[in-house]
Symmetry: C2
Amino acid sequence: MNSDNYFKNRRTIRQYNDEAIPSEKLYSMLAAATHAPTTGNMQLYSVVVTEDISMKQKLSPAHFNQPSVMSAAAVLTFCADFNRFIKWCEARNAQPGFDNFQAWMWAVEDTMIFAQQFVTIAEMNGFGTCYLGTTTYNAPQISEILELPRYVVPITTVTVGYPATEGVVSDRLPIDAIVHKEIYSDYDNRRIDDIFSEKEAREDSAKFISENGKETLAQVFTDVRYPKKDNEYFSKIYLEFIKGKGF
Amino acid sequence: MNSDNYFKNRRTIRQYNDEAIPSEKLYSMLAAATHAPTTGNMQLYSVVVTEDISMKQKLSPAHFNQPSVMSAAAVLTFCADFNRFIKWCEARNAQPGFDNFQAWMWAVEDTMIFAQQFVTIAEMNGFGTCYLGTTTYNAPQISEILELPRYVVPITTVTVGYPATEGVVSDRLPIDAIVHKEIYSDYDNRRIDDIFSEKEAREDSAKFISENGKETLAQVFTDVRYPKKDNEYFSKIYLEFIKGKGF
């Protein structure tokens, strides 16, 4: 297998067959994912597995009823977790000092590495996956449903199941737009035009613009998908929530 | 290939042979990694590639002179980047609202997914990699060396090269310690003992404890590796830095 080509053709899958994942298989994939790198080998994460239909129904509104939640064999809520590590410290006569932003960042990074390693492994096993960014919007509701204690914060959610669709390969910016050699090479208007021209020329971009009554594709992002007032509203909620959890 | 077993045996590599990675190969692996999931297909990241020896020498102290920086064929600084996207919005008559904590979290998550996908791909291509957690400690110095503009923040660094050592498979907690079914199952002292017993019984744990003159392995983490006052000191610096970058 040429791994570069394999990864260039990966697809997000949002619809799944009505079939459970054998528990042993799910645990094996999660166990393999824990071997991804982690800060100081502290493993500052937990994952809550939702398979029960009534629990999916409770989670669904927190994800704005995205259909992949109810369709998935399992909904995996990946959480930054300092609770387990702090409890260990306290049981071992050690004074933890992890109620701060650095500790928060380590746990977020650990959690994302673990989640992405799981996604890679699940996809290699033929499963379909989809991240739900709504997790940072409605973390307080998710936390209540999953009974998350202090020092445990939902970071992202992955739905997983046997694919019911083929999915499509998403477009990406040219790699030169992402990579900087030795120092950061800032973008002038001409380079911005070059970088985004292919995306803007796509048929689905024209469709997004007209469906939303906008002039440009960028306006679909700023006015419809991620408006400033929503971002600020959910920022305030998430920040207060994280502080409330002890970070 | 059984992918679960492959990933269970992955190893971090901190020493590399003195051989450059062909530029085409590095770009191909990075391009493949961009196909990992990203928030709303915004690709809120950049990577700065350091191969020049004088630039490595500048970066090295910011990573507390960890030897893998100078040994690596390439040092990759993965940055949360809203600069490119915001410049695009501004060039397209769209009003960006991304100077807030939600936008920061999307960019951090995108960056970590991209970094971890790169690590997976590089390892599958036979390269060795190592994350440097020091990136969030000394972000201001790194930012200055790499000339990062507003809305661009270093999140993590990966050193990469042809392996000069075999590395070792790190121990991990039992998977039952990480996975929660339906709701979070909190840890009592007995379960903490069970979860950490294998780690505490390891020879290298005994060595860490005696070398550092401590009573317990947990104290090595709280008193030596991650003391509260250091965590708080670097938290303040990083938080102010992120705010200064516009988030």
